[in-house]
């Protein structure tokens, strides 16, 4: 296939927005927003300068905090008229810099869209505004015996709008699916400020599946103003099996054996020894610290179902060489088993001044290989890495520990991360399972996709946003950027990223 793409194609070059007129923008926005909904003083902008990936910081030109869909539409109208970039933001917990502001743009916060519009226990759905927190939906549905299944670890804080934009997952996605499997309808605004609906309250909608396309689109196609999520009946009981293993490869094989036995557990997570050691200090989950790896395998359903499944899980894990198996005896113990897994990120934060969370997904059978390679990289870069992952889906979260104040460690951590991502691609996987590309993994997109594929992405974007105003510079690298990266990449994996402000 030809790698040559016509220069007229969208996505050949970065768009230059330096001519945006700040005074004119503020004046126009002030006309469409009520007082208190527009920020432009440096001090007021500061809280928005980064998302969960705080290594990347950029002050926006202004922050708009509309309170209604009509106001949000008016903001977009101003931006499209004046050619101003727009970055949507939910809670700002994203880990790939997706909500990183644009220096010449509007940061459009959906934080004030906090209403649960309708809870419908009969149809098992909830209509919510995009700024509603993930956990708030389950809390509101609880009295009907229902919940919203996808449960990112950040669920106390992250918003449903952000979840759709990233297609977020959680520990229970193996059985219950990702965000895309649990959303029926998304209402949004095009860059012109027109209302558009994707999907419906039926199980499908006419035409192309634009609802699916919205998932994981990182705020680059439309601004989400309302989401209808599916609610799931709460299982009567959940029980967790914790198994210890003497080496990681055996643990990896045990994961495959569980699946091979025809079991789809509600959750199937792995932690390596450095990870269990790190969390045990803080949460005392009772993990076996001698074990090279532990698996947490959850079963949920009716009491009869759970007892049958736990028996089967136990048998498979024993046969797969587990050195110790414990089954949670009650809800308190089950939560204790999970507490360690859920505390992995904070524990890493306490162990080390900084950590860098990776998100590659690989075929399960390559887990052992990946872990061995990571051990090699720890030596190569002189940095420690602890591993927690959604083993059931092969989605790994290596946490690279470093100290940004030690000269050189930042760059080494980044190069370490880039190595992991490139290896994920070559093992038949992907650079991101659930955290998104954002600005963080944009260079690795050049390894995962050909120029023709990346051009196809830009054409899709242009079908929604012809002038490229929605979240420009994220997720899909321009052809020129990849040409640069490719050239530099040959020089022994040293990644200078000259054009990006770093750490």
């Amino acid at each position: 296939m030809s790698e040559v793409v016509e220069t007229m194609e969208p996505g050949a070059n970065e768009i230059d927005f330096s001519r945006v007129d700040r005074a004119r923008l503020i004046e126009a926005l002030a006309r469409v927003l009520p007082p208190g909904c527009l920020l432009y003083d440096q001090e007021d902008l500061r809280p928005y300068e980064c998302d969960g990936l705080s290594a990347y910081r950029q002050m926006p030109m202004v922050v708009a905090l509309p309170e209604t869909e009509a106001q949000a539409a008016a903001v977009l109208g101003v931006c499209s008229e004046q050619g101003v970039p727009v970055v949507a933001r939910g809670a700002g917990t994203g880990l790939s810099g997706g909500a990183l502001p644009h220096a010449h743009g509007v940061l459009l916060s959906l934080a004030r869209f906090k209403k649960i519009v309708r809870m419908d226990p009969v149809a098992r759905l909830a209509i919510v505004q995009p700024g509603v927190r993930n956990l708030a939906i389950s809390e509101a549905a609880a009295r009907h015996g229902l919940y919203y299944a996808p449960d990112p670890s950040s669920q106390i804080a992250c918003t449903i709008g952000g979840n759709v934009a990233e297609n977020s997952g959680g520990v229970h996605c193996l059985k219950y699916g990702l965000t895309v499997h649990n959303v029926l309808r998304v209402r949004g605004l095009t860059i012109d400020g027109e209302v558009v609906e994707f999907g419906s309250h039926a199980l499908d909608a006419p035409g192309y599946d634009l609802l699916a396309l919205m998932h994981g689109s990182e705020g680059m196609l439309a601004v989400i103003t309302e989401v209808t999520v599916k609610l799931t009946p709460k299982p009567q009981l959940a029980q967790c099996v914790m198994a210890s293993f003497d080496d990681v490869v055996t643990a990896g094989n045990a994961v495959a054996a569980v699946i091979a036995a025809g079991i789809i557990p509600a959750g199937l997570e792995m932690m390596d020894q450095p990870a269990t050691a790190a969390v045990e200090q803080f949460v005392h989950a009772g993990y076996n610290l001698e074990a090279a790896a532990i698996l947490l395998c959850e079963s949920d359903g009716t009491p009869e179902e759970v007892s049958e499944e736990v028996g089967r899980i136990r048998a498979v894990l024993e046969e797969s060489g587990a050195s110790e198996i414990r089954v949670s005896r009650d809800e308190a113990e089950r939560l204790k088993f999970w507490a360690g897994r859920k505390a992995a990120f904070p524990a890493a934060g306490r162990l080390s001044a900084d950590y860098y969370c990776m998100d590659g997904t690989i075929p399960r059978k390559r887990l052992g290989e990946m872990l061995e390679a990571i051990q090699g990289m720890e030596k190569k870069y002189g940095l420690r890495c602890i591993n927690v992952f959604h083993a059931g889906d092969g989605n790994m979260h290596p946490l690279i520990l470093f100290d940004a104040n030690v000269p050189g460690e930042l760059d080494r951590a980044e190069a370490f991360g880039a190595d992991i991502l490139e290896l994920s691609v070559s093992l038949g996987g992907t650079i991101t399972g659930e955290h998104g590309v954002g600005v963080e993994k944009i260079n690795q997109m050049c390894s995962q996709f050909s120029a023709a594929e990346r051009t196809a992405f830009f054409r899709i974007k242009a079908a929604f946003d012809p002038d490229g105003l929605l979240n420009p510079g994220k997720a899909i690298p321009t052809l020129n950027r990849c040409a640069e990266y490719g050239k530099l990449h040959v020089h022994d994996g040293q990644l200078p990223h000259a054009d990006l402000e770093r750490f």
């Binding site: 699916a212 994981g216 009946p233 009716t302 092969g394 992907t430 196809a456 992405f457 899709i460 929604f464």
Partner: protein, 353 residues
């Protein structure tokens, strides 16, 4: 590059240059579906076979021309299946199954084609061979082009390979039958849907509600005790669900127009003349009716869904519900992004795509 693929690339480029159309066809089993096909046939069956299948990864990658029967037989040997239960309606292929986007009785319980599609390889209307998605469960690198082509009826690109998530076959399965009218059936189905019950399919017609339970033995047994009803013999149950999936059930016989209404599961019984059957817990309603298309569409839209003229009738009125708001323009631009010369599936979905 594979000789078949490079042949196709050539053909597509030539068609684009000449401004002619191609009808992508697998087994031709869904040829009845959508607006009338146009253009010269491009038969995908010369590109067949399983590329990769690893049961413990729960993923199978197949060439688009692979017969669905063949694929399912291979999965069956390993105790796995395509959980969305795609209908055959004849000699269906894997690529056609994805492009048609039709799912069977298990749709409400587990999801549709798009929910099991992990990745695709395709040739776009410029003749570029492209890969999107992959063979892993979670992947958010780039836009989700795979799911976009599910159900696109061969109007965006020629699929050459698809990667599908597969699941273990349920350990236990039981089918129950209840006598009740449509209103009661809809109430019941929605009530059960809100409880942790292993319902995997439902079919209501002519005063009979049939319910399939699938899952762990203990869960199915407990549900049977709770729900009551009359238990069907295994053979009879298997035959029934197959007949529903393949539309060989007596409800589907006859030549009158067959409408498919996709509605919110709890929508009231549709007030339209004709005979009705209900699937997917109330979310899919079949209507045999000579009634006016416009009014059927209005009723469906008012209930929060849409109507498809699935079989028979006069296609001139439009098989699919017209697109609302800015959607029509987005569709045209997306079509143009993938297939600027309109080589593929001309007019199959909408006249201007």
């Amino acid at each position: 590059m594979d000789a078949v693929i490079s042949g196709w690339v050539e053909r597509i480029r030539q068609a684009a240059a000449e401004g002619s159309a191609l009808e992508i066809r697998g087994g031709g089993s869904k040829r009845f579906y959508g607006q009338a096909p146009q253009g010269e046939v491009l038969d995908t069956r010369e590109h067949a076979g399983i590329v990769a299948y690893e049961p413990t990864e729960l993923v199978v990658t197949v060439r688009s021309g692979t017969p669905l029967d063949e694929l399912e037989a291979v999965l069956h040997e390993k105790g796995q299946f395509l959980a969305f239960e795609p209908p055959r309606f004849g000699a269906a292929t894997a690529g056609g199954c994805v492009a048609a986007g039709l799912a069977g009785p298990r749709r409400q319980a587990v999801g549709g084609v798009r929910d099991f599609l992990l990745g695709v390889q395709l040739i776009d209307g410029r003749g570029d061979l492209l890969n999107f998605g992959g063979r892993v469960m979670k992947n958010v690198a780039g836009y989700d082009v795979s799911r976009l082509v599910a159900g696109s009826l061969g109007t965006l690109a020629l699929l050459t390979e698809v990667s599908l998530k597969v699941l273990p076959r349920p350990v236990a399965e039981t089918t129950l039958r209840f006598e009740m009218d449509q209103r009661a059936a809809l109430l019941r189905l929605n009530e059960w849907g809100g409880q942790p019950l292993p319902v995997s399919a439902s079919f209501w017609h002519d005063g009979l509600l049939t319910l399939r339970l699938s899952g762990a033995g203990a869960a199915v047994d407990a549900a049977v005790v709770r729900l009551g009803g009359e238990r069907l013999e295994e053979d009879e149950a298997t035959a029934l669900w197959l007949a529903v999936r393949e539309q060989r059930h007596s409800f589907f016989s006859g030549d009158g127009p067959l409408w498919r209404l996709a509605l919110p599961s709890d929508a009231a019984p549709v007030d339209l003349p004709g005979v009705t059957a209900i699937e997917w817990g109330g979310a899919q309603r079949w209507l045999r009716s000579e009634f006016e298309a416009k009014q059927i569409r209005e009723v469906a839209a008012a209930a929060g869904g849409h109507a498809v003229l699935f079989r028979g009738g006069d296609k001139a009125i439009g098989v699919f519900q017209p697109l609302a708001g800015p959607l029509a323009a987005i569709h045209r631009r997306l079509k143009n992004a993938f297939d600027p010369a309109a080589v593929f599936g001309r007019g199959r979905l909408y006249p201007d795509l």
